[in-house]
Symmetry: C2
Subunit: 329 residues, 2 copies
Amino acid sequence: MELAHGAGGRATAQLVRELFRAAWSNPVLDTEDDAALVDLPPGRVVFSTDGHVVSPLEFPGGDIGRLAVNGTVNDVAMLGARPLWLSVGLILEEGLPLAVLARVVASVAEAAREAGVAVATGDTKVVERGKGDGLFLTTTGLGVVPPGRTPPSGRSARPGDVLLLSGPVGDHGAAVLSVREGLAFDGPIRSDTRPLGGLVEAMYAAASPHVLRDPTRGGLATALNEIAHQSGVGLTVDEAQVAVRAPVAALAELLGLDPLYLANEGQLVAACAPADAPALLAAMRAHPDGREATAIGHVEAEPGVRLATRFGGRRPLRWLAADPLPRIC
Amino acid sequence: MELAHGAGGRATAQLVRELFRAAWSNPVLDTEDDAALVDLPPGRVVFSTDGHVVSPLEFPGGDIGRLAVNGTVNDVAMLGARPLWLSVGLILEEGLPLAVLARVVASVAEAAREAGVAVATGDTKVVERGKGDGLFLTTTGLGVVPPGRTPPSGRSARPGDVLLLSGPVGDHGAAVLSVREGLAFDGPIRSDTRPLGGLVEAMYAAASPHVLRDPTRGGLATALNEIAHQSGVGLTVDEAQVAVRAPVAALAELLGLDPLYLANEGQLVAACAPADAPALLAAMRAHPDGREATAIGHVEAEPGVRLATRFGGRRPLRWLAADPLPRIC
């Protein structure tokens, strides 16, 4: 990658045409205007953005391209919307091998197809060697809440609600960390990066959750603290119901980390009315992305997030204070 | 700025609350969900993204925050849409002074107010010292084309169309370059960064242009080549009608640069039917952001972009091949 690729001239046009447009082609992107004109179905619009700076760029189970697409469509889906369009903003470092960029571009294309979205528009900048770190990728997603659906929100948890979790936690954080630290436990730990729109639609076919949240950076513990803070409620979580895969638990123990603070990129936590919990849990378990779903706890009036431990004790589950895992996404 | 500010835990939440939410507060942003729920007026939706890596972060006439907001709302306006919402993705380098970030955040707020848009959602990441360059800012804009308006496109130029330019070229590129090179010519050269939505609306009140394009990276010459390429036409531009301010011309001459390739952040070029040109030009000149508008040339069937020089000659105006100005926006 050379600085000229980001200068807006012939080299930029060539890069866009031969690499990006070839991989992501669709009638909206192909207009070659600086903006995209999209026709959205009726419904309220959901709009979300995420910068991705994960290091390394490639890890077991995914890469920065797949992570960015899934992370963004998931944020859109967490407001009950169907993701439809993406924008992709690349900040490349001079000297980035074209082969790496090409793999990430292919990965964005594949992940977008899997998630049922398309790239509507994009932008590329190049910075000098030593002023970036290979590739940063900022994706923005656009989706629409189907008419008649009340969008869930982190502010909508109510005392008495049941907390549901789609599957085991910590896979993504552990996968990135295991590569960075050069550790392996009976084969690689794979990131759980995946699009959650299908699971969300399956849930809505059963009942309407009050809250949906994907516990990414900061892990499940942070997502729960955010929900408690936004809704002005407290949460109690039953540790025994939160699954952690054995190699993830082993890696976390070795490094002195709590898996509840490790990032996930393919799980969601939901809060719902107690009467809806059985149907929602059954719907989640019937979907490939929620087979290991469990009810993990309850919403209460008393503020704070508490963990009921396997040993019968209770301890506060606090906000993440330090940074055990920089650049996890 | 510390790595913990990007880790998604308490430090991130504090930064978001005390800095971003305080400056950009509005009911959509204030929900604190990972995505934004927006209600758009009827009409086709326009969606555009731009990464900003300008160096230095602050320059005469603006900074990276103002540049990002204006650049993005302008891309939305160039498809005939009214910009409404923004997302802001920040990639910060560890060690960035909080005071610099606070100034950029304030600048985003001010520019958004001026452009009539609001920040709907955002994201912050922090990379280690030496892996970024202070601050990169990726903004995505969302706007709506008023019902009944045919969106302009770079593909809609037709032989016979008249080319209009809103004002003198090269101010932004020259402003950034003058700071980088430590040059001054009778006072600083100021960037022309400004939102163009008002000018576009004033133009539509008079007539419908076929093409609107803001000649940013790569300058007017690049924008004209893009339009010629997209529409499969040729363009001839009368050099004498393209204004360049004296200090910009002096700086360009000193550095051996052609002002037609210097970036603009507050100008637009339009193509329109010959019958509409007088009304559009009058509307532009009646608007504060188009007072110096001129008709600069014509669209022709013969491919290529040509400059009719002040001396009566003709020379091709090619795509920018090299990169005289990396990180201009």
